[in-house]
Symmetry: C2
Subunit: 216 residues, 2 copies
Amino acid sequence: MIERAAQGSRERLPLGVAARLSRYLQVLTQAKKMGRSTISSQELAEYTHVNPTQIRRDLSGFGKFGKRGVGYNVDALVSQIRKILRTAGRRHNIALFGAGRLGQAIAGSEIFADHGFRVVAVFDVDPDKIGMEVRPGLRVQPYAEMRRVIEEEGVVVGVLAVPSSVAQQVADDLVAAGVRIIFNYSEALLQVPPEVTVHTSSPAVDLLYALYFYLT
Amino acid sequence: MIERAAQGSRERLPLGVAARLSRYLQVLTQAKKMGRSTISSQELAEYTHVNPTQIRRDLSGFGKFGKRGVGYNVDALVSQIRKILRTAGRRHNIALFGAGRLGQAIAGSEIFADHGFRVVAVFDVDPDKIGMEVRPGLRVQPYAEMRRVIEEEGVVVGVLAVPSSVAQQVADDLVAAGVRIIFNYSEALLQVPPEVTVHTSSPAVDLLYALYFYLT
DNA sequence: TAGATTGTTAATCGATTAACAATC
DNA sequence: TAGATTGTTAATCGATTAACAATC
């Protein structure tokens, strides 16, 4: 606890704790939208599939955020976790690659916006798509412009909604442009240098896992 | 090992093992597509973010699948893991809800097909979308038909690509129709009975997590 | 043979769980 | 006060890691 109280410090959280706090934040944000003002560790557990004792333990390491007999104040907890994860009051810019059906769905979604992520650019190679308005004020730009735009806009994350066949090329270009976080919606296995983090979206993995417990 | 050798038995795998095996399978399937015939635990570790020793440990619990100095045969390992996860030679039918941009992207993707999941029905309430061919041989059907189709087709998984505002209603209807696995692409927090598993897709969670380590 | 990588052990670390006093 | 839920401890279980002999 004494060590953990060093929350605002330079100390990095253990991987597991950071991952779980991110999940709590997602649920809390949504609970807030649904008009909830408090939430118990039990409810958080149902939505995150994390053990309720684990949740209380994770949170109590940073302070006494809850109220016994009541639960946690949603607004207050959102603020606290944002502080811990260092995303409070910051905006992080995303560049999206591929303006097909998936790319359009991502550009039009609120899913990133709720956490301070903003899609500031969309790129495609298809001349028919360039100039298309995927969302008010956001038009598809030619892929050739990616390097310049990434630098000008201070893009931190690249999201790949391109065919698997070109995903590696885009990843290489992103790495060369200095982007360190890549979110891969294609099926390709991407090769990147160690300082770059790739997250590949694989809904089938979660489905296989859920199915196993259904079948047994 | 003696206990684990009971792979084909009724014994359920620990949660963590089942989750990791699913991830190995995803990577192996893709590696196979890319023409790889063998893969080392080291490489699997890079793509799955699971420790290489852990991977060897997980696999050796079921048999000696690897070859020292070489690695694992991709085809053979895919077969073995499918057997362990009980998905070998089976087809599992999926019903998709919502034929908007996201729904169309999912229907057109190979991502589920590679693991024996097949989208056998797409539903929407919008009369303009009904009858639309989202992929050869697969047309959008009216939502009102969902119950009948789910029973006829033996649907095991419901995938929600609908607006958050109607997600709970669809989830309730799926539960009533006997579906036990729900994959939620909306942001809604879904209330379901304990026998039903909900997985909510939250790319923002993974992004927050990656960002934390980037910022620190 | 030399190099690489598995299979396996042992030691450490983090997660899970039950239990319950504190307290709202 | 009664009921609910946090904060916290202690015990167990599973994951991680380093190390290395076996062997392809």
